[in-house]
């Protein structure tokens, strides 16, 4: 997969993919040629089209919200004009692709969902159709073919905008997922020599690595002899998760610390027994509090009440 250097981020649509998309909708060199020929006429009616388009946007409450003031409207109209002129530039290769991809990202940034700009394309189609046909009074066949070429290109543009919008959303979701991962696996020192790690969710391979690394490092950092691993927040346990848990426990023990597995609820206990998982070597308790008792025991510590003053 080639990397485009034109944009700052990795795009989902490569140069090869762009060629394939054009082939799929049947956008040919001939179409490009017709669009090039349309330019003079298009330049003549673009002003009208953009004006009309924005009348509709401003009239509709939801889209109006994107244009807070006159300056914003003027700016966007200028961009829109440039966009429309781009449709008849005659060159639809990698530079064109890069330029259109930017639009999708901008839309994602400002929160403009695909619903609206697809609506806009529908308006475009209505507005340009009579004008394009009117540009070829003597040759209606050419007029139609030019119109179809324009519609194909606009369709390709929509595809690109949607693709980039989705990709940008995906990136946000991935980032959030990573952050959730971070939040979900804290390892906290709850007493001198005791760390506690509440596990939330399931343990896939990637999460296990992350969890293990963090847990082991904290054990060493805090010089802890006991690690309480609490699985109250683990909804179900399958063979894979059980396996990973055991690996984690084994690794902590290799360091020289003891593990107490806490939060083992009846349903989990049942599953583990049914899976034939051998936990006979591991100290388990049904609650974190009970685990703390065990930890204090191991450290040969005792909690006594304060004498009244």
């Amino acid at each position: 997969m080639m990397r485009r250097d034109v944009s700052q981020q990795t795009t989902e649509v490569t140069a090869e993919e762009w060629v394939r998309r054009k082939e799929f909708v049947g956008f040919t060199e001939q179409d490009a040629q017709w669009l090039r020929e349309l330019r003079p006429a298009a330049d003549a009616f673009v002003g009208d089209v953009v004006e009309e388009l924005y009348r509709r946007f401003l009239a509709c409450e939801e889209t109006n919200a994107f244009f807070p003031d006159e300056a914003a409207v003027a700016r966007v109209k200028a961009l829109q004009t440039a966009y429309f002129r781009g449709l008849t530039q005659g060159e639809y290769g990698e530079a064109y692709l890069a330029d259109r991809l930017k639009i999708g990202r901008v839309h994602q940034r400002i929160g403009l969902s695909p619903r609206w700009y697809m609506g806009a394309y529908a308006l475009y189609a209505q507005l340009v159709t009579p004008r394009v046909l009117a540009a070829y009074p003597a040759d209606s066949v050419k007029g139609q073919r030019t119109l179809v070429a324009l519609l194909k290109l606009m369709n390709l543009d929509q595809e690109l905008a949607v693709t980039t919008y989705l990709a940008a959303r995906e990136a946000v979701i991935s980032q959030q997922a990573r952050e959730i991962l971070e939040i979900a696996t804290p390892v906290v020192q709850i007493w001198d020599g005791v760390v506690a790690a509440p596990l939330i969710g399931s343990l896939d391979t990637a999460r296990t690595q992350q969890f293990m690394e963090r847990l082991l490092e904290r054990v060493v950092e805090t010089n802890s002899s006991v690690a309480l691993v609490d699985i109250t927040g683990v909804p179900t346990i399958d063979t894979v998760t059980a396996q990973h848990l055991i690996e984690t426990v084994t690794a902590v023990r290799l360091l020289g610390a003891q593990v107490v597995l806490t939060g083992v609820r009846p349903v989990i206990a049942q599953t583990l027994v049914h899976l034939g998982v051998d936990l006979s070597d591991i100290i388990t308790r049904s609650s974190l509090a009970a685990g703390l008792h065990v930890a204090l025991d191991i450290l040969k510590l005792q909690v006594t009440g304060k004498r009244p003053a």
């Binding site: 060493v220 002899s225 690996e247 084994t250 690794a251 902590v252 023990r253 290799l254 360091l255 020289g256």
Partner: protein
């Protein structure tokens, strides 16, 4: 590269060996040899292997350590692996290696404490 020299020290009635960071097979074999000879001379409570400098544990290393622990056991002592690094622990577990005859401790100090206290609670990795 010559074999690293293995020093076996006697500390608080136990033997202490500091394992070099990336020992070759011959060094590991020599370690076992030295430990057994030292066990012969001063029976003591057992062996502490300081692994804090060790960067790689492969199957040969694990096997030899386990054998050594077994032998120490047969001679009446216990073996404690001290200060294993997190990255090594994780790799060892992933590789499926076990050390069934050895105890573990966070550092040499605690390892020696462990050996000084009499048996029972059967803490094993």
């Amino acid at each position: 590269m010559s074999t690293d020299h293995i020093a076996v020290l006697k500390v608080r009635e136990a033997l202490l060996v500091t394992v070099p960071s990336d020992p070759e097979d011959a060094t590991v074999a020599a370690l076992q040899e030295q430990v057994l000879r030292a066990m012969e001379r001063h029976a003591g409570k057992g062996l502490v292997l300081d692994l804090s400098g060790v960067e790689t544990v492969d199957s040969y290393f694990a096997r030899t350590i386990t054998e050594t622990a077994q032998m120490v056991g047969l001679m009446g002592g216990r073996t404690v692996l001290a200060g294993m690094r997190p990255s090594v622990a994780m790799t060892t577990v992933q590789l499926g290696l076990l050390f069934p005859n050895a105890l573990t401790a966070l550092d040499v100090d605690r390892a020696l404490d462990l050996l000084a206290t009499p048996e029972p609670d059967g803490r094993r990795p």
